[in-house]
């Protein structure tokens, strides 16, 4: 059937059939440009941010969900009770929720989803989110009880991740290509390498969405992205890949440029386990050799906020510690001399394929050269990056950590930073066991300061979310508290 329709299409091409003119009525469809194509559409079996960018809140839903401001809101669970000791969570599910295949969503599905994610042979990339779960029991079809092995202040937050969405036992295995969720949109078509098309779910349990059709188009090339915007091929580009063209787009009345924040702390990791970066003096020297403004200007065309620690500046608990690692080449040279590297040293800087890393890396290499450090640039693909730097086999590398609230990564044993600090680990352990908001804020600030004072990495800047949209579109997320393109509240203004 496919072949015939294509043959017809081809035959039609030869006689140059006329184009179908688009409808002129108020639009209920939207075409969204994305840089990366998801490898598959199952958020519970792959870590690619691109999966969540398509399916989160649109196709799949969890017990809780992130709001546009990063808050944790009810989703499939309309409410919950937490026991005094913080160990038992009782979730009350929405009634009348159906999966896309028509089957009912109930407590059994929740139990299945959570047990599947934390199982021994689970391929869930964020297994740690479920690590504290001791058991999941079904009380009745609409009530499920989760018991934790230790109190976890961020459990509800964890359940809002795309990796914790609720799936059905019958369809879970096929979700990679045929996703069956509970969300307001259904998968209509996926042309690998080009686009994913979603249509409205007529039987959605919640507030009905205003859009009938959402097309995610994958355009990795910045020029093509720019041209696609200009030509109207895409209506919005939530993470526009060509920041250099934003002024031009902003000047065009057809478009609005949305500059928001992300959770992406962009850092240059220094292998703390490997000489010379095992020496805190050398790490400090490297930090002072780097001019963040030049990097933001040269690599990001001015979009990005300098950071002095591993924390998002828009978070109320953020402490501005950029002063600890201000640009000061003379001080850097002095520190290097103190550490016994008066003549500098040679090292390798491995760069994954994103523009912030590739362009930023070139600027950093030139800046390091000024203080006598020769950083040889090695461009790597993500697959190589995961095999090399991420397994601790590197000197320097640049990467943006886009997970929300991920300062705890520095406490992970064996994590690629190679940073090991008893003091820091203790702060993070205390934080996990603390539920009092004020105490938590205090601990978070301590954690930030410890990292900055130890020069655990070179903290460069917080990635900006630079989006472009047709000026008539309402309801897009301004910031990126999570990797998602939530289309549930989006509509066209007349």
């Amino acid at each position: 059937m496919h072949t015939t329709s294509r043959l017809m299409a081809l035959a039609g091409a030869l006689v140059l059939a006329t184009a179908i003119s688009p409808a002129l009525a108020a639009r209920t469809d939207i075409s969204v440009g994305l840089v990366l194509e998801p490898p598959n559409l199952d958020p519970t079996a792959g870590a690619a941010a691109a999966i969540d960018e398509v399916v989160y809140a649109n196709i799949f839903e969890g017990l809780t969900r992130f709001g546009p401001d990063g808050s944790v809101n009810p989703a499939l669970a309309e409410s919950w009770d937490i026991s005094e000791d913080g160990l038992t969570y009782t979730f009350h599910l929405h009634a009348g929720v159906a999966f896309h295949d028509g089957s009912e969503m109930n407590a059994e599905d929740v139990k299945f989803s959570l047990d599947r994610a934390r199982a021994e042979d689970s391929t869930n990339a964020q297994k740690a989110l479920f690590a504290d779960i001791a058991s999941v029991t079904v009380a009745d079809p609409l009530t499920v009880t989760v018991t934790l092995s230790q109190p976890n202040g961020s459990f509800l937050f964890n359940m809002a991740w795309g990796d914790a969405v609720i799936v059905a036992p019958e369809s879970a295995a096929a979700n990679a290509t045929d996703p069956v969720g509970t969300g307001p949109f259904l998968l209509e078509d996926w042309v690998q390498g080009d686009h994913v098309e979603l249509v409205r779910n007529p039987d959605y349990w919640g507030e009905p969405v205003k859009l009938d059709k959402v097309t995610f188009k994958f355009i990795g090339d910045p020029t093509a992205g720019f041209a696609a915007m200009m030509a109207g091929d895409v209506d919005t580009f939530p993470n526009f890949p060509a920041p250099e063209t934003l002024p031009q787009l902003a000047a065009d009345p057809r478009f609005t440029v949305i500059v928001g924040s992300t959770e992406g702390e962009t850092v240059m990791a220094m292998n703390n386990k490997r000489a010379p970066f095992d020496n805190v003096k050398v790490r400090e020297a490297v930090a002072h050799a780097i001019n963040r403004e030049d990097i933001i200007d040269g690599a990001m065309f001015g979009y990005g906020t300098p950071i002095g620690t591993f924390f998002a500046p828009h978070n109320p608990a953020y402490v501005d510690l950029t002063g600890l690692s201000g640009y000061d080449p003379e001080k850097s040279k002095a520190l290097l001399a103190e550490a016994g590297y008066a003549d500098g040293f040679e090292t390798t800087l491995q760069l994954p394929p994103t523009p912030y890393a590739r362009r930023g890396g070139e600027v950093i290499a030139a800046q390091l050269a000024e203080v006598g450090i020769t950083a040889k640039i090695e461009n790597v693909e993500w697959a190589q990056w995961l095999e090399g730097p991420f397994k601790g086999n590197y000197d320097l590398t640049i990467v943006s950590h886009t997970e929300p609230f991920d300062i705890g990564a520095f406490a992970k044993p064996g994590y690629y930073f190679g940073y090991e600090s008893e003091a820091f680990n203790q702060i993070i352990a205390d934080l996990t066991n603390t539920t009092d908001p004020e105490m938590r804020t205090e601990l978070i600030k301590q954690a930030q300061t410890t990292l900055a004072e130890d020069y655990a990495a070179v903290f460069l800047f917080e990635l900006a979310k630079t989006g472009v949209a047709n000026a008539k579109i309402v309801g897009l997320w301004e910031n990126s508290p999570a990797q998602a393109n939530d289309m549930t509240g989006v509509y066209w203004e007349d």
Partner: protein, 316 residues
Amino acid sequence: MSAFFVKRVISLILSLIAASVVIFLVLEVVPGDPAAFMLGINADPQAVEALRDQLGLNAPLVERYFTWVFGLMRGEFGTSYTYRVPVAELIADRLWVSLPLAIYALVLSTLIAFPVGIIAAARRNSLADVTVMGATQFGIAVPNFWFAMLLVLVFSISLRWFSAGGFPGWDAGAYEAMRALTLPAVALALPQASILARVMRSSLLDTLGEDYVRTARAKGLTRSQALWRHAVRNALIPVLTILGLQFSFLLAGAIIIENVFFLPGLGRLVFQGITQRDLIVVKSVVMLLVFAVILVTFLVDIAYAVADPRLRRQHA
């Protein structure tokens, strides 16, 4: 004849085996674990191991080679690691972009090259000849991706006549689909047309020097009559050979152009496959392209041998 044929078939099979071994071995040593790549930066090592088992990556080398080769013979290319759909399906989809693009480019290049070559030959050393041949020198020297960038600058960004990339799919209508393929086809066609025009011209000039054309002219035909009646037809043989070569080049060599224009074609599939460590896709597509080239070479050899028995004897 049959001895020659058998020899050729054996060498065809040996070539294919050699190619499959080379491709398999090269891709075995590519650094980067597909499973680790799929699960990403914060993946749990246990989960990665579980996925490696699921993908069959833990089987011994020889076993994996034979699984792959026997699969190919049965038309089963395996399942893509990243997309989780059958590779054969992916390839079939992509062919519907790459094949029309190659044909489009070939048609364009022929439409440009034939008249240009013929005019240049007919009016040798005229102003037209010198200008056109000078232009083809440029055409050959232009990297097609740079030409593509210039096309995008002029026709997409400035004039907004064409979109700068992407492919709406044949379902969007033939006109839209062909429109999306136009700039890429032009970018691919220019260097090819330049080469073809030069071959056409020199091949015509050669035949014009042959005795039978001289005889025809002696009989009173004008130069352009002789050109049309005798030379063009005979000059087509070398031109068609070049065309054949160009077709396989266009199919395999459009990688960069497909990347510039973000067309979901075979070339881009391979490129993506490499960066995403979807090695099963890379293996199969490369093998398919190599198979196509080897097969075309084989058919050309056979065709020549049928046409020219001397060649057969030489080889035997």
